[in-house]
Amino acid sequence: MAGGQERILRRRISSIDATKKITRAMELIAASRIVKAQGRVRSAKPYSEKVTDVIANLAGGGAGVDHPLLTQADQVNRVAYVVIAADRGLCGGYNNNVLRAVERAIAADQAQGRQYVLVLSGKKAAGYFSFRGYEVHAAYEGFSDQPNYSDAKTMAESVAELFESGDVQQVRLAYTRFLSMGSQEVTVDQFMPLEASEIGADASENTAGGGYEFEPEPAEILSRLLPRYVEARLYAALLEGSASEHAARQRAMKAATDNAEDLKTNLTRIMNRARQETITTEIMEIVSGSEAMSDDGDHDLDDAITQSLEGSLAALVSDRSDA
């Protein structure tokens, strides 16, 4: 009946209210984490910039460019994808965007007869690819929120091993770049071998690289430095990914909170209408009942019934206005 509907609506409203509180809290948490994550992105910059500088100076100082990390393969048969996604969901399209981009890239590679190897960061990435029957080489999780340098180091080591063993001829890095609070962009970049232009090795002829003293030989320093560069780059990608994750989560949770608010307003309106309908129906029943009685001409009985009905009507109305 109508009263039952009102109770159901009331229950739905209170459950939406509870959900709204949760999404609101998640929105606020994500907002505060973006600021922290952005700070981490910024404080990681000096190191990677300096490492890049030193590499450029070394290349200018005559370090041979025959390091495996700098040698482009003649033919690429296998491509490793390093995918950076999140451990948790509820962050809008953040995970799906990067995972789909990788899936598309893999499909394009397969069309050219290349095989793939997957190295994943984030529980969602591992779930996505293993569910779809992809072969996963390595999956890391537990740090997508707040990646540390040591996490990047562990990942970089396993990727470098794949590359240096010759198992894969190219490594690509898929992550979400944090452009601003409102815009993040999925990129799938070449990660290994390093491109000479990227580390400034080709522009270094113009710099004063020749004036340096080296200890030990430039080539040896370079071979120690390149792995650090790879780690720093992966670390930067992890940090950008985490900033993007928080930004995406904040947006998704803001939308959810707004939706809950709208839903609550609508349902409250429907509930009020239902309540008024119930009251109207009940009054109509009472009035029509009492009129039917008055037609009999038995006025004593009629008066007694009317009185008792009016009493219960008053009780009903005051009861409803409490609600």
Binding site: R40, S43, A44, P46, Y47, S48, K50, V51, D53, V54, N57, L58, G61, N148, Y149, A152, K153, A208, G211, Y212, E213, F214, E215, P216, P218, E220, I221, R224, L225, R228, E231, A232, Y235
Partner: protein
Amino acid sequence: MQVEFVSPEAVLFSGECSQVVTRTVDGDIAFLNNHAAFIGALDIGQAQLWATDGVISLAINGGFVEVSGNAVTILSDGAMAAGDIDLSEAESDLTVAEEALSSDADDVDAANAKKWAETRIQVAASS
């Protein structure tokens, strides 16, 4: 001269120093003002920075140093300030590394671990 000590996660020190002593893979090296341009790979060892308000000691687990234009930049992904060193941890690491070395004298990882533990103990003791 201007000195910057940079780790992947933060700039650990940035300021004016009169002298910097550190250890490259070929041996100890000191930089004074206006040192010639230099790039070196750092070994596991101690770095000392003569800052305006005293000498700062750090334990370095490998890294790089670049000197150019009267500025010294030390890059290290494993550096600890004297105050951050856990002496008991360093000592237990030393014991573990020595045991590993006694069974296999050619174990490079254990040799490095031993060096790193000794450096930390030395830096912690010097402060």
